[in-house]
């Protein structure tokens, strides 16, 4: 019984091997044809790319003469895809194609004082219209407003530039707050908010131990420096004193964590 089944099984295996080798021979032939077709396609693509490069070189000459904004405006991802990606990535943004060219993913990096901070991403639909699909930008950055105001549909690069300004300024302010908390423990942070557009600090004057309340308003969200500095103290004369008027201008012109170092050195605060 065993010998019989072995015989049948081994026969079946033989048949299987034969069938396989026949299939693989066929497969090999079709594979060769496939590869040949691929070679032709790649050659055509190479010619196309060569032509595009030549066009860009011509464009390059034209750019010098024409208005950059109008160039951006006609840089439609549907008509000039290569140029479109070039213009976006030349702004320092990482951009990759997704969904076979129907979408793109843009990465905006933020940095402050040579330190890389968070990276923000936007997944965009390019066809039929430019629309933001998915992103990891926090809700206190007015993304939809910025898209509308900067005509994201026609001027994607300009929109990204503005968004990047907002994000980098936010990251910078956030970093400044972090450094104030870390390096200046003698200064108490009385109030702040998620957008880091308002900062209220409590200083102590050495010797007299007078308290000074300092409010920094960052109403321009594209900047890392305050638009207004307001001082209040139990000592009513103090904010008008020359030393504190100087501190006021210092806080307007220097990032807060650095300004505090100077103020400590000058003996204004503890």
């Amino acid at each position: 019984m065993c010998a019989l089944s072995e015989g049948v099984l081994s026969h079946l295996s033989l048949l299987e091997v034969q069938a396989r080798s026949r299939k693989s021979r066929l497969q090999q032939q079709s594979r060769v044809m496939e590869l040949k077709a691929k070679v032709e396609a790649l050659k055509t693509q190479r010619e196309q790319l060569k032509a595009q490069i030549q066009t860009h070189q011509v464009w390059g000459l034209m750019v010098a003469e024409c208005d950059f904004r109008s160039l951006l405006a006609c840089c439609n991802p549907l008509f000039f895809p290569a140029l479109f990606y070039l213009l976006i990535s030349s702004g320092g943004y990482d951009i990759i194609k997704t969904r076979k060219g129907k979408g793109a993913c843009v990465s905006i990096a933020t940095a402050y004082e040579d330190v890389f901070l968070d990276t923000f991403n936007l997944e965009i639909d390019l066809k039929p219209t430019v629309k933001i699909n998915r992103h990891n930008i926090p809700p206190f950055i007015p993304l939809n407003n910025l898209a509308e105001q900067n005509n994201m549909q026609t001027d994607l690069r300009v929109f990204l530039d503005t968004l990047s300004q907002h994000l980098n300024a936010f990251a910078g302010r956030k970093q400044q707050l972090k450094l104030v908390k870390e390096k200046h423990k003698s200064v108490e942070v009385m109030e702040s908010n998620v957008l880091c557009s308002l900062l209220v600090l409590l200083f102590t004057v050495p010797r007299e131990k007078t308290a000074v309340l300092c409010t920094l308003d960052y109403t321009d969200h594209t900047r890392c420096l305050p638009t207004r500095v307001h001082l209040e103290s139990e000592d009513k004369q103090l904010p008008d004193s020359p030393q504190w008027e100087k501190n006021c201008s210092l806080l307007m012109e220097t990032p807060v964590h650095k300004a505090l170092i100077t103020m400590k050195k000058m003996g204004s605060i503890v």
């Binding site: 990759i96 998915r134 908010n193 998620v194 957008l195 557009s197």
Partner: protein, 362 residues
Amino acid sequence: MDNTAKRLLQRLVRRIPSQMLKTTLDKWSRLTAAQRQSMDYTESKWALTEKLLAICEENELTVKHIAELEMIHVIENPNLGMWYVFQLMDPQDDAHSVELTQFKEQFKSHLSELIRHVSIKIKKHTDEAVWIRIAWGDTFSRPNHLKPTYVVHYLQTPYVFLTSPTSKQKPLLSQALVLSTRYQAIKDANLSGRKLTAIRDLLMKQYLQVFPTKFPSPLAERNCVVSNLHIEKEQAGSAANRHQMACEAFGDGILPQLQSAVYKIQMLTQMLPCSLLMFHQLETKFRDHTNKTMTERDEPFKCVVKFASTNLLESLRHSASSGVASTPVTPLLSSVPLKGKNYFVITDNGPGPSSQMKPSQK
């Protein structure tokens, strides 16, 4: 101390675990050093309650002080209870510059104008959250401190988180919030959950999202037992692909813990097989096209599909990466993190925004 204060204190001591009671009482700072020293936290809860009641009587504390203690406890433990999200709409020009003092004053004044007897306590937490505790009364009765509403809001964001708002209180609260934040309207955001930190992280995008990159790094190794090397090798490519798509849809690493997602379906039956197919691989007996009972009805078909889990997003991600749910992930499921919602109404026109207030959860 009146009865309400006593009851509130008793309830609190019951709720707060003994180990945490000491720190919470210290934060409250309504007890003298001597009184704090006299508390023995190894005693039974009953004994502790009696002790504390006596101390509070001694210090002549009122229900408002006990409410403070409750607030401290809730702020430290925001993941108990049920939170509902509302979204502020159409900011006015000065919405972005609303600061804390202004908000506090405006909110208190507007709510007090709308309802005669109300007790409001506002506290700013270290993570920039503004916490509001509201005890509601009405024209004839004093504020009920035993059934407070908690509200959490981050200034300069459009989101407001509420616990247990009743249908009577919602419009009053909405009005006060809209006026004090300088927006024009407020709507139900169709997101709810037990963990405040989870729904907050979801809306503030504070979790690890995955985007297509030029050089996709291999996602963190999963500890899986390899049963058959050949199968593993064959499946490796498609498994990695599924995992990438699952992570792009839901996120990587630890995901905010949602407990449920509810889809309320109201469709004419001709569309029924298609709509349920949208849930891809989920088994449903209504997929049978020959089933005349289901396909020849006059009234629209209504049903509610609820997904429940201890960590819904984690479960959905796992279903997608393991192949249970087909990839690319259906927008119905990926809409949960994408839109920050876990309640959807699906009609013949496709998934649309739910215009009604969310029905109470069972």
